[in-house]
Every structure is written in structure tokens, then in C-alpha cells.
Symmetry: C2
Subunit: 223 residues, 2 copies
């Protein structure tokens, strides 16, 4: 074959990293600084991600500046106040009690952008959004590598795209995709926090996997 | 600490899986069938991905039917003829010589959809697109697990969204995200194929990573 064949114990390690990866919020981050070399390994994992037409359209801002973080925290607070209104009664109360970000608690924040190209990109001609999707592949690689390095990561999505682009000096070619908080943690939960707290349940595989077409199975209630 | 601490050799295995993962096209797939248990491990990895508000918005169609694959291949052919026109002269010639999919060669095809919810989803209130991003995290998990299982995977993106949704019986709540071809391969290339063939070069880290804001560094030529 000539290529590297991975073995059973290596597949198991990958599965374990995926299974034990968590979304980490401010109530779990420690003050411990993140070593530059550890952050470099996380960024390196991002740069190994697949990208449409090998376009590598990811642009990552490594944010350490307290003032910038405070600007992001302000945008989050504004958006989160509006977000809470979309839930009713008990659900709203529960929403308001959840800690949903770790912007100021995490030593390192990464803002991830998609860089648009004016030239045609191979593979991106029918579905322009796949360029953004490539940046998400880079995020997932970073998330897994962070967990393997015993570093917590949280994805903050309750942010206004335009305000984030203005705050971070993005050009009109740079689209905000994600805001990531990274740092050591006191512990990783065994389960997703929202599952643990009863906000949402894990779906059965029959609801998620179909055969040959959606209509071949009766489980899509929205059809 | 109480949680599983990963060790140096485990981080190295993850890095190696990421580094040796390739986008595989029809010229590399073998006829060998994919064992159900191997496919299950790949799907399982997808279901371990993070999702906004633990919404698990991914819906995956496992396609084995030859007729359905031929329908997808036809959509690809139509889109690819149009795509070639976006490149000029030598670049167009090179484009037309590239094999860009493995729809009929791969034993298993997976069509990945994002399932939209009419109810508010925690974390998805400011940026609705993050639901689609969650499905992309699942795709990247499957891609890495496939490589760890020595299975090739290719992402076909030169497809018309609406035609794919009609072909596969999607409801108005189900949005087509990606089409994946999976199977054993004769070999994995050492480098991305488009890098190897001189279509695109790897970018320098200075072009991709910024500090505190885009304006803090002079390397963004689009500003």
C-alpha cells in the first residue's frame, strides 16, 4: 500500500478524544496561562484542515488584549439579552442561569474569519458557502487538538457578525465565523453540559440516519 | 482533576491522523465493499461532534442505490461543465483534466443535511448559520475517523443545492450541506492533491494568523 495504516488502538484514541471533547464556558476555565507552544499545536491542527480547492480561507486573530476581550463581552451581553427573549417562562429562567461564554475568563481567545476571494475557487463555484465550511473544519480540528492537549475550548456564537467585524478591523472580504475561548480547566464534564442540565436530549440514531432518500424512512416529521 | 488526561503519544497520533487525511476522488477508490461495522464507526464519530445548543441538527442519508448515485453524478456533470467556464486558458485545461469526485466509484455515499428547527435554539439566535456549521463539525469528525480506519473520503461540493434536495426528497426544513464519497483506496497521497499538482500552494502562517486585530499586522492585502 505504501501509506500509513492506522491500527485499532489509534482509532480508539481518536474516538476517545472525540467523545470527551466538551464545549467549555467561563465557570470551568482556570487562570493558568496557556503555553505558546501548546497554542501553536492547536493552531497547527487548524491549518491541517481540508479546504475547498486548497484555498485555506481561514484567518485567525489571536486575542490577548483585555480591552478587545471587553469589547467582545459587551457585544455578547447585548445579543444575549435579546436571545433570552426568544425563550418562554421556565425555559427563559433556565436560559438566564446558564453561563454561555468564557470571554474574560479564558486566557486566549481566537476569532475565526472566512477570507473571501474575488477569483473563482475550484469546488466553490456551485455552493459559495463551502468556503465558510472549510473554516469550520479548521475549528473542529483545533477543538479536538485542544482536548487532546487537555485544554478546554468553548465556541461563542451569541455575537453580532457586523459588530465583530467592525471591532476587529475586518475588511469587506473577511467574514466573521466563530469566537473561541481557550484555556486550562478544573474539569471536563462527562456529558455535554446542556444534556447534563436537561436542556436538550441526545437524539436516537433512527432520527438522524436515513437510507437512500428521506422518503425511504418515515421518521422525518417535517416532511 | 478527575477527567481523562491525554498524553504526548496520543496527541501525536491525532496530529498524524489530521496530517495524513486526504480528499479522495474516484481515481483512488477500490471496489472493496465497506464493512457495515466500519461505516458505523464513521457515523458514530459524526454524532459525537459539537452542535449549537446540543441541537444535533445533522441528518445523513446513506446512499447505496446505483440509480440515486447516477442522479447525483448527473447533477455533478451539469454543474462541473459550468464551473470549468469560470477558469481561463491553461487553468481551464488543467481544471478539465482533474478528477473531482468519486460518486460512482465509491461503495458508500453520504448526503449530509442541516435540519432547521422552527423553535429557537440556544446559541443560534444571533447567527442562524451556526446550525449548518454544526453539521460541518460532524463531517470533519467523520473525515478524521475514516482516515484512522484507513478509509478514503472525498467531499463533492460541485452540486446544485436545490437539485440535490429534490433528488433526495428533502423537506423545506432540510438543507443540503455536503456529499461525501467513502471507500477503501489504493493509496493516500502524502500531500493534498491540488498542492501536488501545482494548482494551489500552501500559505505561510503569517498570512493566516493575526494578533489582537487585523489592523495590527500589515499582511491583509484586501484591507
Amino acid at each position: 500500500m505504501g501509506h500509513r495504516e492506522f491500527e485499532h488502538h489509534e482509532q480508539r484514541i481518536l474516538e476517545e478524544i472525540m467523545r470527551l471533547r466538551r464545549d467549555v464556558r467561563g465557570n470551568r476555565f482556570l487562570n493558568t496561562p496557556l503555553e505558546e507552544q501548546v497554542l501553536d499545536q492547536i493552531l497547527h491542527a487548524g491549518l491541517l484542515a481540508p479546504s475547498v480547492g486548497f484555498s485555506q480561507p481561514w484567518r485567525i486573530i489571536d486575542i490577548r488584549n483585555r480591552e478587545t476581550k471587553q469589547g467582545v463581552a459587551k457585544i455578547f451581553a447585548e445579543e444575549n439579552t435579546e436571545a433570552a427573549k426568544q425563550f418562554e417562562d421556565q425555559r427563559r429562567q433556565q436560559y438566564q442561569q446558564l453561563k454561555l461564554e468564557g470571554i474574560l475568563e479564558a486566557p486566549v481567545n481566537l476569532a475565526v474569519f472566512y477570507q473571501h476571494s474575488d477569483e473563482a475557487i475550484l469546488g466553490q463555484t456551485s455552493m459559495p458557502v463551502v468556503g465558510e465550511y472549510s473554516t469550520v473544519c479548521a475549528i473542529q480540528n483545533m477543538w479536538l487538538m485542544a482536548r487532546a492537549l487537555n485544554v478546554g475550548m468553548g465556541w461563542v456564537s451569541i455575537l453580532d457578525r457586523k459588530k465583530m467585524e467592525a471591532l476587529l478591523g475586518a475588511s469587506r472580504h473577511q467574514k466573521f465565523v466563530a469566537y473561541l475561548c481557550l484555556g486550562y480547566v478544573d474539569k471536563f464534564y462527562d456529558q455535554p453540559e446542556l444534556e447534563m442540565r436537561g436542556w436538550e436530549q441526545r437524539k436516537r440514531i433512527e432520527e438522524l440516519i436515513f437510507r437512500d432518500s428521506f422518503s425511504s424512512q418515515g421518521s422525518d416529521t417535517c416532511t
